[in-house]
Amino acid sequence: MRSLDNPLILREIIMDHYQNPRNHGIVDEEGYKKVNMNSETCIDNIDVEVKMNNDIIEDIRFDGEACAISTASTSIMTELVKGKSVEEAKAIHQQYMNMIFEKDYDEDLLEEAIAFKNTHKQANRIKCATIGWNALEELISSKEGE
């Protein structure tokens, strides 16, 4: 099952999410909280929004003009955390960051996000591979602060 070590498959995951991003398209409805991540890389322009139901991420969506790495990593992120509690989402976020920054991490929590495990080899793409995840963090930690 862990054929996720095969670069061809990892590549396909990214292309798939790039070409068919999940949870794509911002809805301007009551109850959603949005952040824009334009300023992070100066090139990717991504909006991410969440709708919380108490502690649960009931919906999470994104949109914007961005590169393959940003788009796919954000798309995968939305799939991973949708329906999860803030606590769970934070744990997944932590594991993802561990992977990106070459620390120990729990593969099982990350599922398809594992496609980004080689990001450190192209260090200049770290910003792309984390932009959506940073948006998530901003959204769920500010949620708490409210």
């Binding site: 670069p7 990892l10 590549r11 990214i14 292309m15 890389t41 100066c42 090139i43 990717d44 322009n45 003009e65 961005a66 590169c67 393959a68 790495i69 940003s70 080689n118 990001t119 080899k121 192209q122 200049n124 793409r125 792309c128």
Partner: protein, 406 residues
């Protein structure tokens, strides 16, 4: 031009990126430095590091002399009449802000108009935005023709309210040369001051502020083989005289009293408050002498040849969109169906440095219809072989994710 010898002057050309020999095609962002420049800076730091303008002992006098010699190097390079017209700044951005706040803010009134265009760099746009907001002046955009600023475009938006035209001599994305001499002639007939952003022209062309009758000129050292943190503001003496400093402090004042009376020095010193970037100025002087040694005419010709060669090769490919076939500077392009940032990554994986993005000209999308592009920009030390390698990478466009798994 002995290109082998020249390439030997640049230690960076012996470095590698992602295991490949570095092919550096991001000269629009900053250029590589010849050893002569690094050595001049090292020499200051290790053999005569002292403060300038404080000549109480020989060491300080030596520093002063080196610093003022660098000013003379700049004067000669742009053919200014007087060395007092050369102000050292922190860079082109700083220079442009000094004109906007020191001259614009003090000379513009409500309803006055400033002519810009959408291809201008942020550093020649945002200071004017702020000055416009503060004075009630209006920003007016000259239309571009095929991406290029033209005299007709300028004329078409000039009114009797127009007070300032600020324009890049060479655009950093489009690479076109604006007809500044004609624009300035027209402007002066209408009592309009012209500010020239020379960040992308001074490093590559022969600059003659007298022949072109330029009022203000801004440029950076680091884009012309010099160090970062140093730039130049040239201004006609009487204009500098009318320009207020934007920073006050040690060195720029003649005297002051506790009752707020302040007597400033004359240009250029009144603009140079605080300890200047001494090794920056010295490094810039060394860079200028290096460029003069090669010859700006030869540099221009070589770059034109390199660009033509690259355009020809790129046009032969069917997966590349070029946005400015006929410029003189940077080439703006995209690999079809590949987002610019992914493209840059592919180049990186192959040892080629090109830039992706909006290139700090964030209004240009309104004109180009595309927000982000790749940009390849050359300098005289680049070669046809490097361009060949660059074109080979362009061909790999479809495999852009390989870079990520390489």
């Amino acid at each position: 031009m002995d290109i082998e010898k020249i390439r030997n002057d640049f230690p960076m050309l012996k470095t590698k990126m992602q295991g490949h020999d570095l092919i550096y095609l991001d000269n629009g962002a900053t250029t590589l430095k010849p050893k002569a420049v690094a050595d001049a800076i090292y020499e200051y730091l290790t053999c005569y590091s002292g403060n300038a303008h404080r000549g109480d002992y020989d060491l300080s006098h030596t520093v002063d002399t080196a610093f003022e010699n660098a000013r003379e190097d700049v004067r000669r390079f742009i053919n200014a009449k007087r060395v007092e017209e050369i102000v050292f700044t922190a860079g082109a951005t700083d220079s442009l802000n000094m004109v906007a706040y020191g001259y614009g803010l003090t000379h513009l009134h409500e309803g006055d108009e400033i002519i810009l265009n959408v291809a201008e760099h942020a550093s020649n746009t945002l200071p004017w935005f702020d000055v416009a907001k503060k004075t009630g002046a209006k920003i007016v955009y000259a239309p571009l023709t095929d991406g290029c600023v033209t005299l007709e475009g300028i004329k078409s938006v000039t009114t009797d309210k127009t007070k300032i035209i600020s324009v890049a001599i060479v655009s950093n994305v489009m690479g076109y040369v604006a007809p500044v001499k004609e624009i300035i002639k027209f402007a002066h007939e209408h009592d309009i001051i012209v500010v020239c952003d020379g960040a992308q022209s001074v490093p590559h062309h022969i600059t003659d502020v007298i022949a072109d009758d330029i009022d203000f000129l801004a440029f950076s050292g680091h884009k012309m083989c010099g160090p970062t943190g140093i730039g130049v503001l040239y201004g006609k003496y009487h204009l500098l005289d009318e320009t207020s400093p934007t920073r006050y402090g040690g060195g720029s004042n003649a005297r002051y009293k506790s009752n707020l009376e302040v007597d400033m020095k004359k240009p250029p010193y009144k603009f140079e408050s605080g300890t200047p970037n001494i090794e920056g100025a010295i490094g810039l002087g060394a860079a200028i002498r290096y460029l003069e040694g090669i010859g700006m005419k030869d540099i221009m010709e070589r770059e034109a040849k390199l660009r033509a060669y690259a355009i020809e090769k790129l046009k032969a490919l069917d997966n590349i969109t070029i946005y400015n076939e006929n410029g003189t500077g940077a080439i703006a392009f995209n690999i079809n169906n590949v987002f610019a940032q992914d493209g840059a990554s592919l180049f990186n994986a192959n040892g080629v440095a090109v830039r992706a993005g909006e290139h700090c000209a964030k209004l240009l999308d309104e004109y180009l219809g595309v927000r982000t592009t790749l940009r390849a920009s050359f300098y005289f030390y680049n070669t046809e072989e490097e361009i060949d390698a660059f074109v080979e990478v362009c061909k790999k466009g479809d495999d852009f994710l390989d870079a990520f798994f390489g």
